[in-house]
C-alpha cells in the first residue's frame, strides 16, 4: 500500500468529504448554474425554480449516480475476491452485458412499458444468467486466461443478442434510442422512480458490509478458507447473489456503465492495502464519488455520457494493469 499506516484510517473520512463536495457540485451545475446560496434556497424550497431543478432533475440523477457507483465498484470488489483474480469485474465477465441484454430484450418485447418493474427484473434475470455462465465456464479454477476468455465469449454472445434485437426494431426509433441508452450507460434524465428501483442497492451493501473479513480468507482459495473456519459454500453463494444483484440493479437504472468495478477497488487497494474489512466501506463510498466525478466531467465536456467517460478513463487503466501482470 502507498499510504502510511497512520494515514489509512483517514481514507474513509477524506472520501466522504470528497463525495459531499462532488454532490454539492452536482446539485449546482447543469444547464443553469446555481449559486451556493440559490442551491441552498432550492434545497429548502424557498426558491421555486431552483427547487424544481434540484428536486425534480438533479437530486434523482445525483442519488442514482451514487448508488450505481457504489453498486458497481463493490460488485467488482466481490468478484475479485470470489474469483481470486484482480481483473474480475462486472463488465469484463459479461455480467453487466447480461443485465443490459436482459433490459434490451424487455424493452424490445414491449414489456418495459407495461410496468416500471419489468425492466429491472429483465436486467436481473440477464445478469443472473450471465453470472451462471461465467461460473460454469470458469469452474475448474478461475485462471486469468480462463476468465478473460469466458468474458470475451460471453460479451460477444450478448452483443450478438443485442444487435439482433436492434435490427429487428430498426423502424421503431423510440425503442432503439431507449435501447442505445442501456448499451452506453448514463444517469441523465433519471427520475425518482429510478431511485426507487436502485434503493435495494443499499440493502445489498448493508449485507455485504460485515462479509469483508471472510472475503479476505476466501481470496486465499476455498481449501485454505475452509481450514481457517469459513463456510465457503454459503459465503460464495452469498457473494454471488450480492454481486449479481448489485450489478443488475445498477444496470437496470443506468445501463452498462463500464470499468467502475475494476478501477475503484484497484486504486483503493493500492492506497490502503488488500484487507476487505477496510476495502468494503471505502469501495462503496469511493465508487459513488468516482461515478459522480465522471458524470460531472462528462457534463462539463458538453454532455459526454457517463458510460463513455468511465470507459475513456477505464480503458487505458485496464491496459496499464495488464502490462503489470507477470
Amino acid at each position: 500500500m502507498i499510504l502510511p499506516a497512520r494515514l489509512v484510517r483517514w481514507a474513509l473520512p477524506v472520501l466522504l468529504v470528497l463525495l459531499a463536495v462532488l454532490a454539492v457540485a452536482a446539485l449546482m451545475s447543469g444547464d443553469m448554474t446555481l449559486s451556493p446560496a440559490r442551491t441552498w434556497a432550492g434545497l429548502c424550497g424557498e426558491d421555486s425554480l431552483a427547487s424544481t431543478i434540484i428536486w425534480q432533475i438533479r437530486m434523482p440523477r445525483l442519488i442514482v449516480g451514487m448508488l450505481v457507483g457504489a453498486a458497481l465498484s463493490s460488485a467488482g470488489l466481490v468478484m475479485q475476491a470470489f474469483f481470486r483474480n484482480n481483473l474480475a469485474n462486472p463488465g469484463l465477465l459479461g455480467v453487466s452485458g447480461g443485465g443490459a441484454a436482459g433490459a434490451v430484450v424487455t424493452i424490445a418485447a414491449g414489456w418495459a412499458s407495461a410496468s416500471l418493474w419489468f425492466l429491472p427484473l429483465g436486467a436481473i434475470v440477464g445478469a443472473l444468467a450471465a453470472s451462471a455462465a461465467v461460473i460454469v465456464l470458469a469452474r475448474r479454477g478461475a485462471s486469468t486466461e480462463r476468465l478473460l476468455l469466458a468474458g470475451v465469449a460471453l460479451n460477444a454472445l450478448l452483443g450478438a443478442v443485442t444487435s439482433y434485437v436492434l435490427t429487428q426494431y430498426t423502424g421503431l426509433y423510440e425503442r432503439n434510442t431507449q435501447i442505445l441508452f442501456w448499451l452506453m450507460g448514463g444517469v441523465e434524465d433519471r427520475t425518482w422512480e429510478h431511485v426507487q428501483i436502485a434503493l435495494p442497492i443499499i440493502v445489498a451493501a448493508a449485507v455485504l458490509w460485515p462479509l469483508g473479513r471472510q472475503m479476505d480468507l476466501l481470496s486465499l482459495g476455498v481449501p485454505e478458507a475452509q481450514s481457517l473456519g469459513v463456510d465457503t459454500r454459503r459465503l460464495r453463494r452469498h457473494l454471488l447473489v450480492l454481486s449479481t444483484v448489485l450489478t443488475a440493479l445498477a444496470t437496470a437504472v443506468a445501463g452498462a456503465v463500464g470499468f467502475v468495478g475494476l478501477i475503484v477497488p484497484h486504486i483503493l487497494r493500492l492506497l490502503v492495502g488488500p484487507e476487505h474489512r477496510r476495502l468494503v466501506p471505502l469501495t462503496l463510498v469511493g465508487g459513488a464519488a468516482f461515478v459522480l466525478g465522471c458524470d460531472l466531467v462528462g457534463r462539463a465536456a458538453g454532455g459526454l455520457r457517463l458510460g463513455i467517460v468511465t470507459s475513456l478513463v477505464g480503458g487505458p487503466f485496464f491496459l496499464w494493469l495488464l502490462r503489470k501482470l507477470p
Binding site: A5, Q80, R84, N85, N86, R213, D216, L217, S219, L220, G221, V222, P223, E224, Q226, S227, L228, G229, V230, D231, T232, R269, G273, P274, E275
Partner: protein, 237 residues
C-alpha cells in the same frame, strides 16, 4: 481416545481406502514417493477434501462439526500458497485467529517464534518461498489447534529454520498436540515418534520409525539403500 481416526477414507483417483489412528501428543512423519498421496491424506484429515469413509477427531465425526469449530481443532498448512492480494505478513498470521473472533492473540509471539518479526509489515508476495512457508506455519501456530497438519513444511527452509520448525513441532507435541507432517528427508523422519508410509496412493506402513523404516521397506518403497554410517549431522547450538 485418538486425536485423529481415519476410517476407510478414499478419494477417487488419488487415495485408496486408508485407515489410521493417530495418538494425542505425538510427532508423526508422513513419507512416501512423489504422488503417493501425502497431500491428499493431509487434506482429507483436515476435512477440506471430500472423501468417502469417515474422519473422526477426538471421537467426533468431522462431517458433523461446523467449519468455524473445525478451525479451532485442526490447522492445515498448505505446501506453498498463492496470494492474489498482497496481504502483510502480520495480517496473514492473524487470519489464524478468525475462528476465535479475530482477537489477534498470540500473533506477536508466533511472529517472533518463526523469526518473522522484522518482516511483519512486508507483503507476503515479496517474500522468498522459505519465508512464506514460515508465515503459513505461524498462522497455524496461532490457531492453537491441537491437531496440526503440515504439508512439507521443511521443503523450502534453510537448515537453521528447518531445525527450529522441528523443535517447534516437538514442543507442540510435548504440550499434547498431534503434529502430522509430510517430508522427504527420511533421516529426519527417523527421529520422529511415528511414521506413516504411503506408496502408490495406499497406506504401506504405520508405526515407530525403528519398527517401520527398515532397509527392506526403504528399498521397496523408495528404491534406495539405507546405510547407518556416521555422516554430517546438524543440531541447534
Amino acid at each position: 481416545m485418538n486425536a485423529l481416526d481415519i476410517r476407510a477414507a478414499a478419494v477417487t483417483g488419488r487415495l485408496l481406502p486408508v485407515s489410521l489412528g493417530l495418538p494425542r501428543g505425538s510427532l508423526i512423519g508422513l513419507v512416501g514417493p512423489n504422488g503417493a498421496g501425502k497431500s491428499t491424506l493431509l487434506q482429507v484429515a483436515a476435512g477440506i477434501l471430500p472423501a468417502s469413509g469417515q474422519v473422526v477427531w477426538q471421537g467426533r465425526d468431522l462431517a458433523k462439526i461446523p467449519f468455524i469449530e473445525r478451525a479451532r481443532y485442526a490447522a492445515w498448512v498448505p505446501h506453498g500458497a498463492h496470494f492474489e492480494f498482497g496481504f502483510s505478513v502480520r495480517s496473514v498470521v492473524s487470519q489464524g485467529r478468525y475462528a476465535h473472533g479475530d482477537d489477534e492473540k498470540g500473533v506477536d509471539e508466533a511472529l517472533a517464534r518463526l523469526d518473522l518479526t522484522a518482516l511483519a509489515d512486508r507483503s507476503v508476495n515479496h517474500l522468498s518461498d522459505g519465508e512464506r512457508a514460515r508465515v503459513l506455519l505461524a498462522r497455524a501456530l496461532v490457531t492453537e489447534a491441537p491437531l496440526q497438519l503440515w504439508d512439507e513444511p521443511l521443503a523450502a527452509l534453510d537448515p537453521r529454520h528447518g531445525l527450529e520448525v522441528l523443535r517447534l513441532a516437538r514442543t507442540l507435541a510435548a504440550a499434547g498436540a498431534t503434529v502430522l507432517f509430510s517430508l522427504h528427508d527420511l533421516r529426519v523422519a527417523h527421529g520422529l515418534d511415528h511414521v506413516v508410509v504411503l506408496r502408490e496412493r495406499a497406506l504401506r506402513a504405520f508405526g515407530t520409525p525403528a519398527d517401520i523404516l527398515t532397509p527392506e521397506l526403504l528399498l521397496d518403497v523408495f528404491a534406495v539403500r539405507a546405510h547407518t554410517v556416521p555422516g554430517l549431522t546438524l543440531d541447534l547450538p
